[in-house]
């Protein structure tokens, strides 16, 4: 087990180095002088020279990469061209918002997705099964930003039940402790803020959760069906166990193994979906930040976000793999 995890960790090194090379080359692949690109269009010659000096842009590429990587490892991704703030600072400020949104969506997707899948499989070819799978089929084919717009329109504009954009009602004061709105409002005992943040969280979470929810439902259904056909299930039934016990005590545990892989894989989709959802709902997270950075040609910010997203994705995949070996001991023998 330890050996497997060590090996898995070592395999991360080339991948992370590769992603850093991609992020690094962004500035050099873009047309024009990198120093000018980093300084922004309207920078003075002095600023450009200072940047050239600071990042060693007159030195050979591999030395530049070394300098850049060293700085990045120390948390210095340079300053944003637009705001002149440190990119790392800007990303860390926005991270809690993206984290709350993706976590909330994932929990929603896992709970509803697995339950729908299990019910569909245990009542195969029933009306319920067809309904769930029909919805799931639409779910995987839906553009997440359009779903967001539709939710906004129905629940925000027509019914006026929920707010349509932002993170919290701007009139409600909330003391910043950790940066996580939900956590902060609980810590400070600010009940109005908690309700407000939750209300703002609902629509974006549903929009973002739909695709992974649909995928999880489909995979857990087919995985359940596969398990229910196996010999040991027939033995359990022959033993006289109730159908309920067969399904919930024996089948579900075995059927969840492929579902966990899918959950891990879906996290990437969720991050990509966050880029779109945050843009639709004006959610102040990293997804919206990277889009505006690309539009403004804010290269240091784009580099920072790219590294950040890739890092998150790689870590989640690692966690999935580790959970996987705990659940399925057979993986040792592969």
């Amino acid at each position: 087990m330890k050996w497997y995890i060590t090996k898995r960790l070592l395999m991360l090194i080339p991948v992370l180095l590769g992603t850093s090379i991609i992020a690094f080359s962004l500035i050099h692949l873009a047309p024009g002088d990198p120093a000018r690109t980093m300084a922004g269009e309207h920078a003075s010659q002095q600023v450009i020279n200072a940047i050239r000096e600071k990042y060693g842009l007159d030195k050979p590429l591999y030395i530049q990469y070394g300098i850049w990587l060293n700085r990045a490892l120390h948390g210095d991704m340079g300053r944003s061209i637009v705001s002149n703030e440190y990119v790392t600072r800007e990303i860390l400020d926005r991270f809690p918002n993206t984290f709350e949104l993706t976590l909330f969506s994932m929990i929603l997707a896992i709970i509803i997705g697995t339950i729908a899948g299990i019910i569909s499989a245990s009542k195969q070819y029933s009306i319920l099964d067809y309904t769930f799978m029909g919805i799931a089929l639409f779910g995987v084919s839906m553009p997440v930003f359009w779903l967001g717009i539709m939710l906004m329109m129905i629940f925000g504009v027509f019914l006026r039940w929920l707010p349509i954009s932002g993170r919290i009602d701007i009139l409600i004061p909330l003391q910043r402790v950790t940066g996580f709105y939900l956590l902060d409002s609980i810590i400070t005992g600010n009940f109005t803020a908690l309700i407000s943040t939750l209300r703002y969280l609902i629509l974006p979470s549903i929009a973002l959760a739909t695709i992974p929810m649909a995928t999880i439902a489909r995979v857990s259904r087919s995985s359940m069906l596969e398990v229910l056909r196996q010999d040991f299930i027939r033995t359990e039934r022959a033993k006289g166990l109730s159908e309920r016990a067969v399904i919930y005590k024996h089948a579900v545990r075995n059927a969840m193994i492929p579902v966990i892989t899918v959950i891990g894989l879906n996290f990437g989709l969720l991050l990509a979906g966050a880029i779109l959802t945050e843009t639709v709902f004006a959610w102040p997270g990293i997804g919206r930040y990277v889009v505006s950075a690309v539009r403004m040609r804010d290269y240091p910010a784009v580099q920072g976000c790219v590294l950040f997203f890739a890092f998150m994705f790689v870590i989640v995949n690692l966690i999935t793999d580790i959970i996987y070996i705990y659940i399925d001991p057979r993986i040792h023998y592969k």
Partner: protein
């Protein structure tokens, strides 16, 4: 030999026809293809009139008394016919799908075959690069590429093609690895066929099933991602009638009650992607039951 192949095709067609959802998917896609081809003839209006007719801005469609008769699905903020723009948009989306998947196929087959057939360090290098590209969510990688090569529909197609390449390369590689070990390939090598001959005549034709299946499903993803890039303003640029870009220009107006301009383009995306997903799943059941998940 020839007769046997014919009966096999016949059997595949029969199996396809019995697969209801596949046939349904095919019908949906054929309808979109027809819309794309006949857009000139069936679109009631010019999708990109210039100058814009602002007097007709955000008028509802047939369901309302205030609507303009010749614009059945209403108009967008610039007074353009939503229906006509959706019909022309089918052209844009379907061609992006085809071209992006085409690029991914071309690159993916090249790298996948080289990696799978030759193995060794070539395989290791190619697969490490694939791993690195998989460390990015597809849309983010596309955004990164667009940042470098610039915005626009043509650039978006290239970016998506590159983004899908690793997936295609993996699929091809694994099917090449499987076929490579077959006895008849051994025989070909033993009788002295060149590597390229073996690859082109024997390995590639036998990996065609997964390529068709995943190519179809990939086209669905391409349409979604292209719309997403358009929505973010990084793909198709105005006034191109692209579904995603149409949404991004219209959704701010839903607050004033103009829901149609932000609804119908999304329905078009939804059904074209749904059609391709159904078709892809169906083809998988028909062509390669082993792939069934």
């Amino acid at each position: 030999m020839e007769r046997k192949r014919e009966t096999k095709t016949g059997e595949l067609v029969r199996r396809f026809r019995y697969n209801k959802s596949a046939v349904f998917g095919l019908i949906i896609i054929l309808m979109f293809v027809l819309c794309a081809i006949l857009a000139n003839y069936i679109a009631p209006n010019n999708p990109t009139p210039s100058p814009p007719e602002l007097a007709r801005s955000l008028k509802p469609g047939l369901w309302s008394e205030d609507g303009i008769k010749e614009m059945p699905l209403g108009t967008d903020a610039l007074g353009r016919c939503v229906l006509s723009r959706i019909l022309y948009g089918a052209r844009v989306s379907l061609s992006v799908g085809f071209i992006a998947v085409g690029i991914a196929l071309l690159l993916g087959i090249t790298f996948g075959v080289i990696a799978g057939y030759y193995g060794g360090w070539v395989d290791s290098v190619i697969m490490r690069i694939v791993d690195i590209m998989f460390a990015f969510p597809a849309l983010l990688l596309a955004i990164v590429i667009v940042t470098v090569i610039g915005q626009g529909l043509d650039k978006a197609m290239i970016a998506l093609g590159i983004v899908y390449t690793p997936q295609m390369a993996r699929i091809i590689r694994s099917s090449v690895l499987y076929i490579k070990e077959m006895e008849y390939i051994e025989v070909q090598k033993a009788i002295g066929s060149s590597n390229w001959r073996v690859i082109l005549r024997h390995v590639l034709p036998n990996s065609i099933a997964p390529v068709i299946v995943y190519g179809t499903l990939m086209m669905a993803t391409a349409i979604l991602d292209c719309a997403a890039l358009g929505f973010l303003g990084l793909g198709a640029q105005p006034p191109t009638p692209e579904w995603g870009a149409m949404l991004s220009k219209s959704y701010t107006y839903i607050v004033s009650g103009a829901w149609w301009a932000a609804t119908f383009p999304g329905v078009a995306i939804l059904f074209s992607v749904l059609g391709l997903n159904l078709l892809g799943d169906g083809l998988r059941d028909v062509l390669d039951p082993r792939l069934k998940t």
